[in-house]
Amino acid sequence: MKIVYTDVLVIGGGLAGLRTAVGVKQRGFDTIVLSLVPAKRSHSAAAQGGMQASLGHSAMGAGDNEDVHFEDTVKGSDWGADQRVARMFTHVAPKAIRELAGWGVPWNRVSQGEREAVINAERVVITESAKAHGLITARDFGGTRKWRTCYTSDGTGHAMLFALGDQSIAHGIPVMERMEALALIHEGGRCYGAVVRNLVTGELSAFLARATTIATGGYGRIYKVSTNAVICEGTGTAIALETGVAELGNMEAVQFHPTAIVPAGILTTEGCRGDGGILRDVKGHRFMPDYEREKRELASRDVVSRRMTEHMRKGLAVQSPYGDHLWLDITVLGREHVHKNLREVTDICRYFLGMDPAEDWIPVRPTQHYSMGGIRTDHRGESTTLKGLFACGEAACWDMHGFNRLGGNSVAETVVAGMIVSEFIADFCAGSESDINLSTGLVREFVEREQAGLDGLLNSSNGESASAIRSRMEEIMIEQVGIFRTGSELESAVEELEQLLERSRRLSVRNRVPGANPELVAAYRLPKMLKLALCAALGARQRTESRGAHYREDFPQRNDRDWLNRSITTWPSAEATLPRLDYESIEVGDMELPPGFRGYGTRDHIDHPHSDQRHRQIEQILKAVDPNDRYARQAALMPFEHLLPEKYRPRSQRLEIKT
C-alpha cells in the first residue's frame, strides 16, 4: 500500500484549491494538490464575465465600497447568507484583485475621457475621470447597484487561473493530475486525508495530511443541461457527505443562468447583458421591462431565469427542434464592442451556432449553472463537524451566497476564501492539535474498502450499466428539481432517485480493465452523484417557501417566519437511501441587514417576528454613532474584523472618484 505524507492535502486545482495551496506554502507548510485534469484546465478557466470587488474607480462605480457590495450580496442571497462571512468577503475582495494584479492578471483599465456605452438599450456617453486613468475598471452585472465587476475581456477566469497556476509552479507546489479522491480517511470526528485513485493506472494510494482541503467545485452535472464542465460532478462534496460526519449546507440552492445557448448549454456571460444586451421573445419584443421595471435584464439571476421561464410558458418562446428558447440580442452593442470585449461569446457563437452575434440574435434559455450548496464550514473554512477537513470555493457552503449568488461573486469567493482559509489551515497545522497519530491498519482498512468496491464492479457480470440510470437522474433533476418546483413533483423525484440509488449499488461494466477505464469511472461516481441529487431534492421538498433560486410554485412567498435557516444534510450510513435533514437557524438579532425587499422580484414575503425589533434596534444603535464614519457604524452593528486573519484586517484604500 502506497502512503504519501504531506502537511496540507488540497483536493482540487481550480482557483480555490490553487490559492489555498499557495497560501499554506507561503506560511512554510508542504502541500500537494490533486486534480482530475491539469490544473489550468479546471472549470474556473471557463469563467468569462468577471470578478466583483468594490474598487469604485470607473465612473459608473463611483461611490462604491464594501458596504454597498455587502448589501448587494445579502439581498442577492435572499437573506440566506451568513452576514459575517459576506462582510469578511467584501472586505478582502479588493485585496484579492490587487494581489492578482501583482501576479500578472491583465485587468482591463479605466481610460480617461468620454466613451460610449449602452445602458437600457440606449447609447449613452460616460466620462471617465482623469484621476482614475489606468486603474482597474469594472462592468455592470446583475443584482448590483454599482458597476463593480472587474474583468479581462471575457476571459477573466482563464487569466486568473493561469496567473495562479503559474504562481503554484513558482512556489514549487506539486500538482498531481489525473488523480481522483475516492474517499476521506477519518476516525473519531477527525479527517486524516484521502484514498486516491490514479486515473491512468488505476492504482489506489493513501494521502495522509494534517489538514485536508476540498476545493472540487460544483455538482452541476447532476442536471441534464448545465453550463458546467463535464468534470463538475460533485464527487468532492460527495466524499465529504459519505463520511457520515461532515455536513452539507443548502443543497437545494441551485442556480440557473439566464443565457446559455441552445442546444449545447454553453454559457454566454452575464457581461452580455451587463454591457447592454437585451432579451427578446418570439415576436422580437423586449419583455424584461414588463416584469422588472427597475432592474430589467439585470435583476439577479434567479429572478431573470424565472421571468424568462414564465414568459416562455405564456407561449411567447421561439420553438425549435431542441425545445423552446428566447433571444439574447447584443447586436445593439455594435460590432467593435462585441468582437473585442465579448470575444469568447463571439467564438462560441461562431463555432457552435455558426453565426455572428454582432449580426444576429443568440438563441438562449435558462440552464443549470452554479451550486450554492456544498460542504458546510465555519467562517474559517473548517467543516462544522469533521475536524481537520476544510473546504472552499464552489464546493463549500461558507456561506456568502445563501440561496442565490451574484454573478462575479463566485470567482471572487474562490480567491478570497483561498486567501482567508489558507491562513486558518496554516494556524491549525502550526498547533499540536494537527498532529497525526494514526494506525496504518486504519489506513489499510479505508484503502481496502475502496479497492473492494472497484473489484466488485469489475467482477460482477449481471448488473446494470451506469449510463441509463445516470440519464434518468439528470432528467429528473432538470424536470422536477429545476427552476419552478412543486411539492408533488419533488415528492416523486425523491422517490425515484431513491430507487435509482438502490439500483446504482448493483452495477457492472463491460470493459474489465482495472486501469484507465471511463466506464468504471462513470460507475463508481454514479452513487455519489445520486446522493447529492437526493440531498437537493429532499431539501427542496421540505422547504415549503421560495427563497432565491429555490422557487416553490405551491409556496411562492419567502417565509422568514418559518424558513430563515440553512438546510443541513448528512448521510446516516452506507446502506441508507435518504440523507438526514436538519436545519441551522439564521439569527435576525445578529444581522447587520435584517430581512426586507430585495429591490427586484416580487415584493411579498412573510416577516420574521424579530425583524421589526432588529430594525428598531439598529436605528437606536446608529443614533449614537457618527453618521459620517461608515466603519464605526458598521462595527456598531455587526463587528467582523476580528474574525479575519490579521494580515487581511487593514482597510483597503480607494481613490474617491467624483463624477
Partner: protein
Amino acid sequence: MSSPSPGRTLVFKILRHNPQDPTSEPHVARFELEEYEGMTLFIALNEIRERFAPDLQFDFVCRAGICGSCGMVINGRPGLACRTLTSTLAPEITLAPLPVFKLIADLSVDTGEWMRGMSERLETWIHEQTPVDLHAVEERMEPELAEAIYELDRCIECGCCIAACGTARMREDFVGAVGLNKIARFRLDPRDARDDGDFYDLIGDDDGVFGCMSLLGCHDICPKELPLQTQIAFLRRKMVRVS
C-alpha cells in the same frame, strides 16, 4: 445554426492504442454514426464510447473551446475537437492523438506534464519587483497595454502548435510557440522585473527562439488565433540584438 445535409453517415477512423495494456497494438478502429444537426466531435466521440467502445479514451473538460483539453489531430490537422462541428468535415473523419506529447491512450495525451516542464524552464510567472501592498490602490497601467498583454495571455496550452511544429518533433526540449509566446507576454508586462538579458538566458538557444525554423505551422493552427508569427519574429530580433 448551420445545417448539414440531412442523413449523412459519418465514418470515423480513430487511431487506437493503450500503452498501459501489454497486449495493445496501435491500430485504426472504424465506427459509423448517423449525423444530426449541431453534432460536434465531442458529441460524436461520446456516442461512439457509449454505443461501441466503452474503453475509448479522450479528454474533454469545458466542451466549449475554452480549456484546451481536447486537442487532437483531425483529418491530419491539430485542432480542438469539442468545437469542431462534424458538418464542417467530409463524411470520413480520421482522428489521432497529438504527436510529441506522451500518449496516455487512444486520443488522450499528457499535455499537462509537458506544459509544466516548459513553464518551469522558462519561469513563466511574474518576477515581482516589489511585493504588492494589498491594501493600497493598485499600480496604474495604460488600458491599451493591459489589452495587449491579455491578447498574448489568451493561450490555453492546448498543445496544437507543438503538434504542428517540426522542431518540437525533433528536439525534446524545444519550448515551441507556446513557450515563446509566453516569454513575449512577460516581456511586455512592466510588472515583470526581467530584462532582455534574462530572457536571452531562457530562450537564446536552439531549444528556444533560435531553434524555430519559422515555417509557421504554429501560427496557422493556433485555435486562439494568437499572433504567433509576429511575436516569434519580434523576439528573434530582440534576442539577436542581445547576443
